[in-house]
Symmetry: C2
Subunit: 415 residues, 2 copies
């Protein structure tokens, strides 16, 4: 084992202690105590490897390695925030691998006395997970202009704390604005697959060629309060029963689809008044549909409409189904995929072209700059779970691949 | 309209302003601001009608009208606390009618220079509703020794506040203990029916002859966290899907029962981690079964077991079903029912014998002393809802009936 791989694995162990859970995972929701602590530690590692830390106004953390003042940057990044009781690899692996890739290349360039036309930056995007503050991918959405910063800063958690308040409390500085915000020339991200395709194929590297499409809804089920004891079954307009009919209907629709062609989920629920002797008057929940096929997604949306109509009739409730956001299935830029393929072939690394079901910060970045999205295997595809696992060997192979891809990007993507 | 009926209706309007909601109802959960305010107002009305206010250690509020120091009391009561967004009649009508009945009789006795062998008390039981602090009927359960006071005082609301803390904050005094706690010789309660039987029969008075049986469960559904995007449908162990299968299964079981023979409800739900991109690992909910037939209740419990087994298989989750409390269907004491019947006949008031599906404080009291439970009609049977309604005429008829029944109880139930 070389010094640099030893350093990476040592840094990975240290990083995993921030927000560590008893079950071997982490709990570092955006701007929580754990997220604040890991960001401070990460900033000190950036400095230790010779970089400089700045934040933008939405709290994205940049580790800058500059060669040519004023030139744009090749960005390498992901996110250090997590879901509650999450795995220690999701996002975190990509940020740390990004730092090590960038630091190695910067070091090599300096030792060779070279000064490229672009600068290098590792980026830790703010609130990729969206569990504490909705929606997900908040930092990269604001960075790329998909979301207005005032909307993002006004988002609240369940206790009513806004993003703006949480960031004020975190005290991240220095904050740069306007022309001082680092500009991207290209973007690279490496992430655990959160699926089983690489493991099944025995390939250590996944080249992400496209995203699945996604449609996300806010579902509001409206019934009528009543006494759980004395309101006759026939008189009930039970919002929780209506919600349960939608959950089971949507799930069975997805179970009936061709395997791997449709994912459908409800995972949040707010029940009003949530009292043991009062029938629910309202239930608010999410609904998340994903498919690699545009036609399947359209048909699923129609089927959801039928599920809702049936639920309204059986439970005597009314339902509002509001599309809150989504993305079409679309390809990663050809030049990024080709760069990654040529690097993998040069290194002799077995790879597989894959689609990503989950959204990533690269989903935003690929719309603005040449983007490379890489995967490493996840054991059993388990993710958003403390048991998420990727072996040291697979992490190191991914780091090797990412480092070579960043070096190639520095050569190719100049202004 | 006599002065006394005018006073009752005027007091009723004033009382309904405490915790009033925009929808015409009230929101006065136990020891909330609204409950604290209405109790203070109610205490001043007790004093205004010549009574004296004391509290016991669990916060039951007694308005005492004494004739024979040291003698037990005929209790007349109900509760001023409410569900969230509730009607203004449930409980509150019974407490105010109790005060007016007791005050009229005390006044008449004093004017006649009579001093009965028993004293009179109106009781406002603490936390009958059980929405903020579980379980329901807390004050009367502690009073009758069904529940230990230390257990009741340790119950917490959703923000972690205990009953003991909420009561300390409320500052109810004076608190009497030991032999100074008023002892009951008999108990009378009047309540809105929360059903349609009286309305349908055109009877202004219901004589409650028995309770339905009830079984209440805590249901814990355990699955496995996962990413809603990337976890394949076939790999999911979705606790929220499992919960939805149980809710729909239990509801359809009740819908399939003989009408009026089984009520089954789930009305509370806590989802963990309740994040938009993470499959639920755990769902906690309640389950409430009620029937006027012991055999139906036993069979329903067996059917719930089958629903749970099916849900475990389909959703690949595991379920804990824990019986938390319940009561058997049982009769109100014969002497109380007979007393009420003879009073109604004397007054020439049409009445109907009914069963109560809902639990009341009288459910506890009837196990210790002769008890009369009366109902007045509820329009459309609507309850635990801002639209709950009972006409002034029906309230006044109920007050007349209650007053005569209390007077009769004073004569009959001496020590």
């Amino acid at each position: 084992m070389t010094d640099t791989t030893r350093d990476f694995l040592s840094d990975f162990r240290t990083m995993s202690a921030f927000g560590a859970t008893a079950g071997g995972g982490i709990d570092r929701q955006a701007a929580s105590t754990g997220d604040i602590a890991v960001r401070e530690w990460f900033g000190s590692r950036v400095t230790g490897y010779g970089g400089r830390v700045v934040f933008d106004e939405i709290g994205n953390q940049f580790g800058l390695f500059e060669f040519t003042p004023g030139a744009p940057y090749v960005f390498v990044g992901s996110h250090l925030d997590s879901q509650p009781l999450a795995g220690r690899f999701d996002g975190s692996y990509g940020v740390l691998a990004g730092l090590h890739a960038v630091a190695r290349i910067a070091d090599a360039l300096r030792r060779q006395g070279k000064s490229p036309d672009v600068n290098l930056a590792v980026v830790n995007w703010f609130n990729e997970e969206g569990s504490r503050f909705s929606p997900s991918m908040m930092g990269s959405s604001v960075y790329t202009g998909v979301m207005d910063i005032s909307v993002a800063r006004a988002a609240t958690d369940l206790t009513g704390v806004t993003v703006a308040e949480a960031q004020r409390n975190a005290g991240w500085s220095p904050v740069v604005t306007g022309d001082d915000v680092p500009q991207a020339a290209a973007y690279l991200e490496i992430h655990v697959e959160q699926g089983k395709e690489l493991e099944r194929a025995g390939a250590p590297i996944g080249l992400v060629t496209s995203t699945w499409g996604a449609r996300k809804f806010r579902v509001t089920v409206r019934g009528e309060q009543g006494h759980t004891g004395s309101t006759l079954m026939a008189d009930r307009q039970d919002a929780l029963f209506g919600a349960a009919l939608i959950i089971t209907g949507v799930r069975r629709m997805a179970d009936g689809a061709e395997p791997g062609m449709l994912q459908a989920s409800v995972s949040t629920m707010e029940v009003l008044p949530n009292s043991p002797v009062t029938i629910a008057r309202e239930v608010r929940m999410n609904l998340d549909l994903r498919s690699p096929d545009a036609g399947v997604l359209v048909r699923a949306q129609e089927q959801v409409g039928a599920v809702v109509t049936d639920a309204e009739a059986e439970a005597k409730i009314s339902v509002d189904l509001e599309l809150t956001h989504g993305w079409d299935l679309n390809p990663y830029p050809r030049e990024g995929v080709e760069l990654a393929r040529s690097v993998a072939e040069t290194l002799g690394l077995p790879y597989r072209e894959v689609r990503t079901v989950a959204g990533h910060d690269s989903t935003n970045m690929k719309e603005t700059v040449p983007t490379v999205m890489l995967f490493v295997p996840s054991v059993d595809g388990i993710s958003h779970n403390e048991r998420e696992y990727t072996s040291d060997e697979d992490m190191l192979t991914g780091l090797k691949m990412l480092t070579a891809a960043v070096a190639e990007a520095v050569d190719r993507f100049r202004i």
